[in-house]
């Protein structure tokens, strides 16, 4: 019984950590302009729209976050082997992973921008200084919370995977959650706020992204302000639910079918049921949205 109570506590705590991680991850990637909306940032100068938006083309968010989280996990493991306190080891790992993230971000921005010289896109050193540090700060929060959740799974729940392997799994999941949930909000809303709402993005508007703020030319640093309102919390909810439900089903149902000889299958069946439940909810929401908002029609 005590085992289950500790398990529930860890589940709740890991879910809360994951919610923070998701929110910070999406904010980080939007400030740095990573993931699929970045293609428009890359395209804009070629269409004649010079801009001051960051261009953090490291890779898609899932591989990038796999690297940061796995790195932090590996280094945290190495420091615990050297008898460093676990919390301190996680912080050391996160600091080094954030350093690597910052280096990759700057080289991506410089490389991509220098390769666009034909279209007159300048390198902005002030953007490099201000935006990189802000993405690093958000990345620190995202990595620290994810590694802490991995560490909880590894030590408190006796997960059979080694810490860096958990880092690969959850880093990938974190990047995927942020990319799938948060990016449409950034790519289709923020970049095209100057287009008619609900019009989609016509080919002629390709590359014509928002480049001016209320006063003067904007960098992508205020994407953080924008994302923190909705895209970030939505990603946090998504990743938090993923971690919470995954641990919840394992803690409660892993041994529920053991008496019937199906050891461990209880959690698998509950997992499949959760997926089916979410498919039904998704389909309902989709039909509801289609009937309420309908296809786009031009205003008469």
């Amino acid at each position: 019984m005590q085992e289950i109570i500790i398990g529930i506590g860890v589940t709740a705590f890991a879910g809360a950590l994951a919610a923070m991680a998701g929110a910070a991850e999406d904010t980080e990637s939007n400030i740095g302009s990573q993931g699929d909306p970045n293609s428009q940032v890359q395209l804009a100068p070629q269409m004649g729209y010079t801009h001051r938006i960051y261009n953090k083309a490291v890779s898609g968010e899932p591989p990038a976050y796999t690297l940061w989280v796995t790195l932090a996990c590996g280094i945290a493991w190495a420091f615990t082997m050297l008898h460093v306190n676990a919390m301190l080891a996680i912080i050391f790992g996160t600091v080094l992973a954030t350093f690597v993230q910052g280096i990759y971000a700057t080289t991506a921005y410089l490389g991509r921008t220098a390769s666009l010289s034909k279209f007159g896109q300048p390198v902005f050193i002030d953007v490099l200084k201000s935006v990189t540090t802000v993405t690093m700060a958000h990345a620190f929060v995202a990595i620290l919370t994810t590694v802490a959740a991995c560490y909880l799974m590894s030590t408190m729940l006796q997960h059979p995977f080694a810490l860096p392997l958990l880092g690969i799994v959850w880093g990938l999941a974190l990047g995927a959650a942020g990319s799938a949930t948060g990016n449409p909000y950034y790519g289709k809303e923020r970049q095209y706020q100057n287009q008619k709402f609900g019009a989609g993005v016509p080919i002629s508007a390709s590359g014509n992204i928002v480049r001016y703020a209320e006063a003067g030319q904007r960098s992508s640093i205020d994407n953080g302000f924008f994302t923190a309102k909705f895209g970030g919390p939505a990603s946090g909810l998504c990743f938090g639910l993923i971690v919470f439900l995954e641990l919840w089903r394992t803690v409660l149902f892993e041994h529920s079918l053991d008496n019937w000889g199906a050891v461990g299958w209880g959690a698998v069946i509950v997992g499949a049921l959760i997926i089916v439940l979410f498919m039904i909810i998704d389909r309902y929401v989709e039909i509801w949205a289609r009937t309420n908002y309908g296809p786009y029609t031009a205003e008469a």
């Binding site: 890779s59 493991w77 990759y104 410089l110 050193i125």
Partner: protein
């Protein structure tokens, strides 16, 4: 059907890059193996040599892989650049683990051969079965598998000071916490995969220059070496780990500064807190 996009025209041919860096990488891997084989208990000088030469081997291999990725991805594989890195290291892990079981002095050559075979099969599947029809596909995937395998060996040498199967399955501080069982090979996998794809992915565009992309590959190699050197504190003696860490840090810092200089050379303008001038204004 694919259209070939020319990348840098002014460059060193790919075959030259491949031969030069491939041979240098093998040379440094053999130095690492030789140093590891004569290292006695408690000595730090030979493990230090093994760690550092492993890191340098990884840097040379990444330069080769970067050139291959550039050649492959000039056929309009935009979003496929990061995937190429993953594929390379996925096949590289298989080849490396297979090769570590043979005689230590055959490990790099055996790894290279197994990786080439795995890569040729994967390349044939993607080109002929999945019908991607890219002329350089089969050869490039085979090369990438070899690059993945050799880079992993290099990074493994940085972390553990050796490449042998016994060494990577037993730990120094805790016999059950080894390079494999603690999952540090996963760190090497993802570190190498991102370092392999990043240089070309970060520098692609019409103004891409071979020397700048190549320099970024070296920078990524040293950055990966820094991380593995930090992890190596759990596997090798403190002094050896410090030596490889400091050398990696110096190598990274020099190439990073140089990359800034080359970016400044190639950029249209280098502005600090100045607005852009818009043609529409």
């Amino acid at each position: 059907m694919s259209v070939k996009v020319e990348v840098s025209h002014d460059g060193v041919p790919h075959n030259t890059v491949m031969m030069k860096n491939g041979i240098l990488a093998l040379f440094f891997l053999y130095i690492a193996i030789a140093a590891a084989s004569v290292a006695g208990d408690g000595s730090w000088s030979y493990p230090a040599i093994a760690c550092v030469s492993g890191g340098i081997a990884a840097v040379f291999t990444l330069r080769w892989g970067n050139s291959t990725i550039k050649k492959l991805c000039s056929y309009g594989i935009g979003t496929g650049v990061p995937s190429a890195g993953m594929l390379a290291f996925g096949s590289g892990v298989i080849a490396m683990l297979f090769a570590t079981k043979v005689n230590p002095f055959l490990v790099p050559i055996a790894g290279l051969l197994v990786a080439l075979i795995v890569g040729l099969i994967l390349g044939w599947i993607s080109n002929s079965v999945l019908n991607m029809k890219i002329p350089v596909m089969t050869r490039s995937i085979a090369e990438l598998a070899a690059v993945g395998c050799l880079t992993l060996m290099g990074l493994t040498a940085v972390a553990t000071g050796d490449i042998g199967y016994d060494q990577i399955t037993t730990g120094l501080t805790d016999p059950y916490a080894s390079y494999i069982s603690a999952g540090i090979i996963a760190v090497a996998f993802i570190l190498g995969a991102i370092a392999l794809q990043h240089p070309f992915n970060a520098c692609l565009g019409p103004g891409e220059k071979q020397d700048r992309t190549d320099l970024l590959a070296i920078e990524c190699g040293f950055l990966s070496m820094i991380v593995m050197a930090v992890i190596s504190f759990a596997f090798v003696s403190q002094i050896a780990a410090w030596i490889s860490f400091v050398i990696a840090l110096i190598g990274w810092f020099v190439t990073y500064r140089q990359f800034f200089a080359l970016s400044k050379r190639d950029a249209a303008a280098w502005l600090d807190a100045k607005p852009f001038s818009d043609a529409e204004e």
